[in-house]
């Protein structure tokens, strides 16, 4: 009977309740007439029930529940504080362009000139000034980055006019953390320029937020100023992957708008 050949697959899917009704009936019919397959299924059922029993975890500690509630309270307070400060919010110039890109940027924080950028921001600014050779160029960049750097793709633009030139890994990373760089050729306004995006892993809490908070769609980004005067836009995702956008040739408000046109802030 042909089912014997696939008994590993079938018995497992059967025990995990992944078979369609018809497949289940076929297997059950087969089991009544094949002792070998029946024995195998019973062995797997026994193993499975042992594994499932063994995996039961101890109860969640009450202290953890309390800790979680406290963390969420803190988060709520920080958010409410940010909302109260929105007296300073205003829309960036060029609202027609923003509407076209369906991205609305709001400054939600107050620029603090006294706050110094993290060391990693300065290191990043320095790296982009070196002319390091690209390790990959053109259309294969995205795939190459996924294989060699991170499972996440480098940011891409939701409309034509911005093309990936290429990318490379950064030797030694940024402050000991893995980092990569992607360069884009951007021509949205008839004035082409180069945009550099640095991707750095393991950004810590509070890092890359020392500057003005900007809300782009539903994401909060920050406008940072490195010690060398260069301004850049930072964004840190849920997995602590940090993205730093640099385009020294364009005003910072244009750079913010540009970030609003990447898939980082688009629909999930």
């Amino acid at each position: 009977m042909s089912l014997c050949k696939s008994i590993d697959t079938l018995s497992m899917a059967y025990l995990d309740d992944e078979l369609a009704a018809e497949e289940r009936h076929e297997l059950e019919a087969h089991l009544t007439e094949c002792a070998t397959c029946r024995a195998q299924l019973e062995q797997e059922r026994a193993d499975l029930s042992m594994v499932r029993r063994a995996l039961a975890a101890p109860p969640t500690p009450d202290l953890l529940r309390a800790r979680v509630v406290r963390t969420l309270d803190q988060e709520d307070r920080a958010l409410q504080k940010a909302q109260r400060r929105r007296w300073s919010q205003y829309m960036l110039p060029g609202s027609a362009m923003i509407a076209a890109a369906a991205a609305i940027a709001l400054f939600v924080g107050v620029q603090s000139d006294t706050q110094r950028p993290s060391a990693s921001v300065n290191s990043a600014a320095k790296v982009t000034k070196q002319s390091l050779p690209l390790e990959v160029q053109g259309a294969s960049t995205v795939g190459w980055m996924k294989t060699n750097f991170a499972p996440v793709e480098p940011p891409q633009f939701t409309e034509p006019g911005a093309k990936i030139i290429g990318g490379r890994l950064l030797p030694g990373g940024i402050d000991g953390r893995d980092a990569a760089m992607v360069a884009y050729n951007v021509n949205l306004t008839g004035r082409p320029f180069v945009l550099t995006v640095l991707m750095v892993r393991d950004i810590k809490d509070g890092e890359w937020t020392e500057g003005q908070a900007v809300q782009v769609n539903d994401r909060v980004m920050h406008v940072l100023r490195a010690d060398d005067g260069n301004q850049m836009v930072s964004y840190v995702d849920a997995n602590r992957m940090g993205y730093l956008f640099l385009a020294p040739d364009v005003p910072i408000s244009d750079l913010v708008r540009l970030v609003g046109r990447t898939d980082l802030v688009g629909d999930q």
Binding site: A13, E18, E44, M50, L55, L79, Q83, P151
Partner: protein
């Protein structure tokens, strides 16, 4: 202000009810109660920050477990990388000293390993320790959390067939290790029958082949 309150209420109603599931998964992934608590707290805060991106009609538990798994993988990979660098430096040092340190002996002495052994008295945790990461994750998500093959495939970013193979081999290894622990409390020697055969399991493939056979009849 209202939006903040509303978000909190929604989050507590839909996400916080899965705290036990998250803690259970974290406990088995990290194999250490303290790390598990940190991982859950970290993952929940991320989930709260990204609550807007949760699609309301999808499985919240699977979404949360995805965040737990990803957070764990990222943290773990970082620690593992720094450990590898350290290990490489140690072996180089040992080689130049003219003393060859066996990799396994080295491993036993590492503070992390020592801490793990002292803090975990649980056979199951030790049995899990022996599984390759991918196998362990698949088994935890399926047999502990009851996620479907498809949900696990999405979390682990691999085909359903790969999930099935990992599950199959992970369960075999785990069952064998548990049996051995039961026999020889405290010490496990890897015996040949703990090696699961390199199974290729794929329900999709089975279905395709079946369809082809039926078509040719």
């Amino acid at each position: 202000m209202l939006a903040v309150k509303q978000k909190r209420i929604e989050f507590e109603r839909q996400a916080l009810v899965h705290l036990d599931a998250m803690y259970g998964a974290a406990y088995r992934l990290t194999r250490n109660p303290r790390d598990a608590e940190d991982l859950v707290q970290d993952a929940l805060l991320r989930a709260y920050r990204f609550w807007d991106s949760f699609q309301q009609d999808s499985n919240c538990k699977a979404w949360l477990l995805r965040i737990v798994t990803n957070t764990f993988i990222n943290e773990y990979q970082r620690r593992k990388r720094s450990r590898e660098v350290l290990d490489a430096a140690t072996s180089e040092q040992s080689a130049t000293d003219g003393v060859l340190v066996h990799a396994e002996a080295n491993d036993k002495q590492s503070p992390e390993k020592a801490m793990l052994l002292s803090s975990v008295s649980d056979d199951v945790q030790r049995a899990l320790e022996q599984l390759p990461d991918d196998f362990r994750t698949a088994v935890i998500l399926c047999d502990m959390q009851g996620l479907s093959y498809k949900e696990i495939a999405e979390i682990m970013e691999c085909p359903v067939g790969t999930v099935m193979s990992r599950l199959f081999r992970g369960r075999k290894l785990l069952a064998a290790a548990l049996r051995e622990f039961a026999v020889a409390e405290g010490y496990v020697k890897k015996s040949n029958d703990t090696e699961a055969k390199a199974a290729t399991l794929d329900l999709e493939k089975y279905r395709a082949e079946k369809k082809a056979r039926e078509g040719s009849q």
